[in-house]
Symmetry: C2
Subunit: 290 residues, 2 copies
Amino acid sequence: MSEHFADRLMAAIKEKDSRVCVGIDPVIERLPEALGGIDDPLARVREFCSRILSAVAEHCVVAKPNSAFFEALGSGGMELLHEVVAQAKRLGLIVIVDAKRNDIGSTAEAYARALFEAPDAGSVPDAVTVNAYLGSDGVMPFIETARAAGGGVFVLVKTSNPSSAEIQDLDAGGKPIYRHLAELVDRWGADGVGESGWSSVGAVVGATWPEQLRELREVMPRTPFLVPGYGAQGGGAEDVAPAFDEDGMGAVVNSSRGIIYAGGDVEDFAAAAADAARAAKNDINETLGV
Amino acid sequence: MSEHFADRLMAAIKEKDSRVCVGIDPVIERLPEALGGIDDPLARVREFCSRILSAVAEHCVVAKPNSAFFEALGSGGMELLHEVVAQAKRLGLIVIVDAKRNDIGSTAEAYARALFEAPDAGSVPDAVTVNAYLGSDGVMPFIETARAAGGGVFVLVKTSNPSSAEIQDLDAGGKPIYRHLAELVDRWGADGVGESGWSSVGAVVGATWPEQLRELREVMPRTPFLVPGYGAQGGGAEDVAPAFDEDGMGAVVNSSRGIIYAGGDVEDFAAAAADAARAAKNDINETLGV
């Protein structure tokens, strides 16, 4: 396994011929009725994540558990997150923990250590998401800790939600804020480019903004993109296409609810999730012509 | 006890005649040698926090544990954070958990629940910090969950670190980004103003930028300020004065390292912390003339 995050990610995309990232967002109230026999909420989420991951692993290249849903489980939630990371890695998935952490100096280092120094090597994620509103001081400790662990970071640049425009689209000197941030991301990642030509410093750019996706791909030519907003949030395969280079490389497209809750309350919810993951994979690959 | 966060905060400032927030940032490597006899890192941090809190409580109005340092402790870290919150509340301190969380929709709700739905009522914080780069979608779930719990939020507006200028100071339409954010904060907090005249939606504005502090106080006249950067980061009492109104109300000034590590390795590190907290309290009060 390559020591460089982006090299590992790009090799996995080629090997699996998949650009799908499955978002693992377990909400107790939305778990299928088929799991109703398990009383303990933590055990129910564990079983749900386990069956979903096993079923979708062959169609996806990345799993992205969101820390919020595990933190909301209270005591034992973070240990379960580590278990989910470990299982996803055992299944051959690249794992991005979506935590959107941010702080400065030694505090940012503490967050980075909390994320990359998991109790055992098997549960160390490949990458994490970070929020860069605090600037370089808030991002470099994550990049350095990630790099030491052979991992990467994805910096929020242009998020998929409607109100992202309130701050991110403000025009400063003829360029929106997200573009200023993109230029910082390109700079932060410049000395972290691997043999694949891609950097270990990535960017989060929403599928719901195809024009910005195209613009940002030009500003950050070596930056892997994590693209949320496909599926349930309204983005289609045509919308995410500008995230990729001409060879169909350089990005992964996240779908959370559209995959993990695809079956609703059907008995075999995991098979339904696998079908949805396969469909997303084919949809994106066909649109890209790869 | 008032059900409104800002009313509670302002009453506590008056009652204690203190505007000092003690930042509880426990780093294993920096704990005093006097605790060397305790082998288990979690137990050592517990003892440190407990002795510091007991010693400084009479001189401070707020305790602000930073989640990062507890997350970095691994398994058991979050439970310890709850213990620290509970102890600080028992000691009569207002508690702000510094977590800088951010996400959208149901994910932001999950983070807010994780923070405000602690295992028992005694360990529910009074307020939390949030990062608003994602706009209203990312902030409203925190504000709503906080309000339902009688709590507040502090939105990062202008942070104390040197590189905060990279994004926050960019000029958009004649106003820096932090000012745009300040206007959003003022709006988000408009319907949450308590009997004290202050809102349950606060702002984080660094002591290291006194000019901006003055400007932002004008833009957000009803917004409680949490002011980091005093002491170890270089801000003095003169620098933080513009955060307060003419009656010396409306803000708390955070000091972390300057208080909790004031004694270095002296045997009675807690007494040294108490002295530092008292000195900070007097320094700020004298400068404000209150």
